[in-house]
């Protein structure tokens, strides 16, 4: 009691002190100056200074380097904004002399010719050559400004979408207290996609060998499931992360003979540009627990990130950098799946923009992590040949009839002949209700058997089914809110919501028997939908019959009623006759 009282008094005193302190303090004196930083705090383009020349004239102080860096980055940003706006916008503050004039003219010319340029830069690598003794002139080479540009014509059609690493010789002058670019001469360029990366050969990591995957020298074929905990799928997974549940589920997957899981890292939930330690620790924990079970994990990045505005690419880069540099040595990661079904974003983001972003992300992902494989989880086999030269293995999702798979697979194999191919999502819902397209568990098993049988024999890199569990909760943003929209999504698991396995669960393990009892074709007519349809048909016939009965009744009634109306007249007529 005494302790509680003491704590209470302490808190009251502390709170009172804080309030008094708050009212004793004025505004930050610095705020009166209203100094706007050159580099906006939410602008995350990377800048890495390369080692200075041995003799730069004068050794540059860290403060000056910061000033120059901010002004230089801001100059590029202002250039990008001017391109976006279609007019020289505030360029005078960051460019001077002939460069100011040239850049302004080029922007105006593009606009007057009916072109719109969207431009951004995601990386800069200045290399200092000279810094004058009086601190007013600096000369450096921009060894690699990674510039992304999307050029559209009047009709909005994309004329060019590309990414280049350009080298510039730059001279900046300190004029009236501000660093400005006076000269910027483009001297060379490379295509980032042309950069050859050598994947490290660390033991325990899955590798590519020709059109197959290997693990420690042995062929490796992924056999797994997409994973969310049963009670907390999608947006609730990482929010309500429970290691005990994870342990149970991973053990369950292991017991089913699986070797791979595919999970999702929601961009915003993980902290966007600056992933939070809490969520990183949870991912860390998951990967370690998967490792303990001997499971490999395909980590799908940028989940639910659908804004492809080039000015925000640097934000995504920092997210990627944080994740990949932290987990680059984790052998439990089979691959980074750069984006889930990006082709579905073509409609909103524009095909060229989405593809350019994927190219960009693929290149920098290798810069951050050369240990792990890369893939992109395309929604269809038709889309999956896109950018296949940039990934280690091609992956796509398959939900159409199993009978079409060989054709689609072989077509893709031809288009991306040198790459392993993996299906990272496939499945058949066992949601079998009065709505159409319901399926039974035996049908699901048959579908799984057909898919897996083909993939095992075709030399594929493996298969990852959707999903481990049936769910009772699906976010509306995933499959819609109506029952016929999210109903099938709820029952795509190989385990029921109560954890009991469906017949398909036994088919996924490598080497498992794929002999399943074929469902006779007439059996589909025993589904609730068909039975319901039959009932409805009968009801309909019955109603028609009843309708005719009613119609006849109405007719009789009408006839009867007509008779009644006419009765008084007849009566009157008779009456009149009688009077006459």
């Amino acid at each position: 009691m005494l302790l509680i009282s003491l704590v209470g008094i302490f808190l009251i005193l502390k709170g009172t002190g804080a309030i008094i302190t708050y009212f004793q303090q004025g505004a930050d004196p610095g705020s009166a100056l209203n100094i706007v930083p050159n580099k906006p705090p939410d602008y995350h383009t990377k800048i890495v200074w390369l080692p200075d020349d041995p003799d730069t004239g004068r050794v540059m102080e860290p403060f000056t380097r910061d000033q120059i860096e901010s002004a230089y980055i801001r100059a590029w940003l202002q250039w990008n904004l001017s391109q976006e706006k279609g007019e020289p916008l505030g360029l005078k503050s960051y460019f001077t002399g002939p460069t100011l004039e040239a850049i302004s003219n080029a922007i105006q010319q593009s606009v007057s010719n009916g072109f719109k340029i969207t431009q951004t830069t995601t990386e800069h690598n200045p290399h200092l050559h000279f810094y004058s003794a009086d601190g007013s002139i600096v000369s450096f080479t921009e060894e690699g400004a990674r510039v992304e540009q999307i050029i559209r014509d009047k009709s909005g059609q994309v004329v060019l979408a590309d990414e280049r690493d350009s080298r510039y010789d730059v001279v900046m002058l300190l004029e009236d207290g501000n660093w400005r670019i006076r000269h910027m001469v483009r001297i060379n360029e490379t295509n980032p996609s042309d950069t050859k990366f050598v994947t490290a050969l660390n033991p325990g990591f899955v590798r590519v060998d020709g059109a197959s995957l290997t693990l420690d020298g042995q062929p490796f074929q992924a056999a797994g499931v997409n994973y969310y905990p049963q009670a907390t799928p999608w947006d609730k997974f990482w929010l309500s992360y429970k290691p005990t549940i994870i342990d149970e589920d991973l053990k369950r997957a292991k017991d089913l003979g699986l070797n791979t899981l595919r999970i999702f890292v929601p961009f915003t939930q993980f902290g966007g540009t600056s992933p939070t330690e809490t969520y990183l620790d949870r991912l860390d924990d998951f990967l370690k627990r998967a490792d303990q079970q001997g499971l490999k994990v395909i980590v799908t990045l940028f989940d639910f990130r659908t804004d492809y505005n080039p000015l925000l690419w640097a934000d995504a880069d920092r997210h990627l950098e944080t994740l990949l540099t932290r987990f680059k040595d984790y052998s439990s990661v089979l691959a980074w799946d750069l984006k889930n079904e990006p082709d579905l974003d073509y409609k909103t983001g524009g095909r060229e923009t989405v593809d350019l972003w994927l190219r960009h992300v693929a290149v920098i992902a290798r810069e951050f992590d050369s240990n792990h494989l890369l893939t992109i989880g395309w929604s269809t086999s038709a889309a999956a040949s896109t950018l296949s030269n940039l990934v280690d293995f091609v992956s796509f999702h398959y939900y159409t009839p199993a009978v079409n798979l060989p054709t689609e697979y072989n077509r893709l194999k031809t288009a991306a002949s040198d790459k392993p191919i993996m299906i990272t999502e496939f499945g058949l819902p066992t949601w079998n209700t009065f709505f159409p397209n319901g399926h039974s568990e035996p049908e699901q098993a048959e579908y799984y058997a057909d898919i897996i049988k083909f993939l095992r024999t075709s030399g594929s890199a493996g298969y990852v089914a959707w999903t481990l569990y049936d769910f009772s909760y699906i976010p509306g943003s995933v499959a819609g809110a109506l029952p016929w929209q999210n109903g099938p999504q709820k029952e795509l698991g190989i385990l029921k919501a109560d954890g009991k396995p469906k017949p398909a669960a036994a088919l996924l393990a490598p080497g498992s028997s794929l002999d399943v009892t074929r469902v006779p074709s007439w059996a589909q007519f025993l589904k609730p939908f068909w039975l319901g349809s039959l009932v409805m048909l009968l009801l309909f016939i019955y109603l028609i019959w009843r309708f005719r009965l009613v119609e006849r009744s109405i007719a009789l009634f009408k006839r009867y009623r007509t008779g009644l109306f006419k009765l008084p007249h007849r009566f009157l007529r008779l009456f009149h006759r009688k009077r006459r």
């Binding site: 002399g97 004039e101 850049i103 080029a106 009086d134 002139i137 060019l160 000269h183 001469v185």
Partner: protein, 414 residues
């Protein structure tokens, strides 16, 4: 029949008008190879003609040409005619030197070619930028001369362009060095000499000239210096002035320090007081007057310029101008209305009269201690004052007379 004819004519007209109104979509390039025919390099600022060739392109098919240069992309559109599309990049678009990546795109086919726009020859003025503006003339300190030569379009000139820089030193030496333009500029780390003064700097290249720039080579810190006081035989009269001055301040290379160099004199007086007197050099010497204190004794003076201290000057402030006790008399004036107090002879250390005009202070105190002070000046070794007695109380009065270090006493009664 007539109506049918009208109907058919109308129908025909409608068809014709519809056909006129429809815009024919241009043929599209569906495949084949593209090549860009353009020079590898060309001087900046001249129109460039180039051709995009297609292996098979329908006439009228659109081709887009993007020239991605130092100032960003410039975009052009053309059409194929007999598998060729001609473009001319106007002079205004080729002014900026540097690498231009030409990207031609028709349909889904894209081809690139690189073109270098070479900067022209440097033009005037070739402006030498000097900083720091002033350096110490000690052969250790240095400044920089930077020249950023540019062509007629403002482009930095080609790497390796030789720039001759000249420096005329204060000792009339002429230094010349040739520097090549590297990373868009040329620069010279110019070390100071031993003679202070102005160094005139200029730059030239291939008959291209520019204005001069000045580098000030200033003297460094002075070497230790001495202090003088004039006159040295100052007497402790609290009135006389002596001038404290430094010797000529020179740096290690015998350059007089800059005018206006601050010298701080620290004067320790006989009574323990310390005076700090700032002074600025003119022609290498800093001086300041010192008023003699009243207390005779030893005086120490030191001068300081930044961290450099002079030797300490020590001298003795002589008592004076009168010394010892001199006679003082007080007599009633003939009118009976005043008392005449006369002091003298007022003698200095050599038994000579104190100089005429020496201040003499007479202090008259009554028995209650109330004092009246009267000032006079000496004349022929004597001084006197006339004290009017009107208003004075009856009683004894004590008189004290001071002349520098000398003093005398007397008394009178009313």
């Amino acid at each position: 029949m007539r109506q049918l004819s009208y109907f058919l004519i109308g129908l025909l007209l409608a068809l014709v008008l519809t056909a006129c109104g429809a815009t024919a979509s241009p043929p599209t390039f569906t495949g084949g190879e593209l090549t860009i025919s353009a020079p590898d390099s060309v001087d900046a600022g001249i129109p460039i003609s180039l051709t995009v060739k297609a292996s098979q392109a329908p006439d009228g098919a659109v081709v887009t040409l993007i020239a991605y240069g130092s100032a960003g992309p410039r975009i052009y559109r053309g059409t194929f005619n007999k598998n060729e599309a001609f473009f001319t990049l106007p002079e205004s678009d080729t002014k900026q030197s540097g690498l231009v990546t030409l990207v031609a795109k028709a349909g889904q086919v894209q081809i690139e070619k690189r073109l270098t726009l070479k900067p022209g020859a440097p033009i005037e003025p070739l402006q030498p930028l000097v900083g720091a503006k002033a350096v110490v003339a000690d052969t250790q300190h240095w400044s920089m001369v930077v020249i950023i030569p540019f062509d007629r379009f403002g482009n930095p000139v080609a790497e390796g362009t030789p720039i001759k820089m000249k420096a005329k030193r204060p000792d009339d030496r002429l230094e010349e060095q040739v520097f090549k333009v590297t990373n868009l500029l040329s620069w010279w780390r110019i070390y100071s000499g031993v003679k202070a003064g102005h160094t005139i700097i200029s730059g030239t290249t291939n008959g291209v000239f520019g204005p001069e720039s000045i580098l000030h080579e200033v003297p460094g810190l002075p070497v230790p210096f001495s202090i003088n006081v004039d006159p040295l035989n100052l007497t402790a009269d609290g009135t006389q002035l002596a001038t404290i001055s430094t010797s000529t301040l020179r740096d290690q290379f015998d350059n007089k320090v800059e005018d206006g160099t601050l010298v701080t004199f620290t004067v320790d007086l006989p009574d323990g007081e310390q005076r700090v007197l700032p002074a600025y050099t003119i022609d290498g010497i800093a001086g300041i007057p010192l008023q003699a204190p009243r207390q005779p004794g030893q005086i120490k003076i030191k001068g300081t310029v930044l961290s450099i201290e002079s030797s300490v000057l020590t001298f003795t402030l002589q008592p004076g101008p009168a010394v010892g006790v001199f006679p003082v008399s007080a007599t009633k004036a003939d009118s009976g209305k005043a008392v005449i107090i006369e002091a003298g002879p007022l003698l200095g250390a050599q038994q000579q009269f104190v100089p005429d005009g020496t201040p003499v202070i007479f202090t008259v105190s009554d028995k209650s201690g109330q004092k009246q002070t009267f000032n006079a000046i000496s004349d022929q070794g004597r001084a006197k004052v006339e004290v009017r007695i009107a208003g004075m109380q009856q009683g004894n009065y004590l008189v004290e007379v001071k002349v520098g270090s000398g003093q005398g006493f007397t008394s009178f009664s009313l």
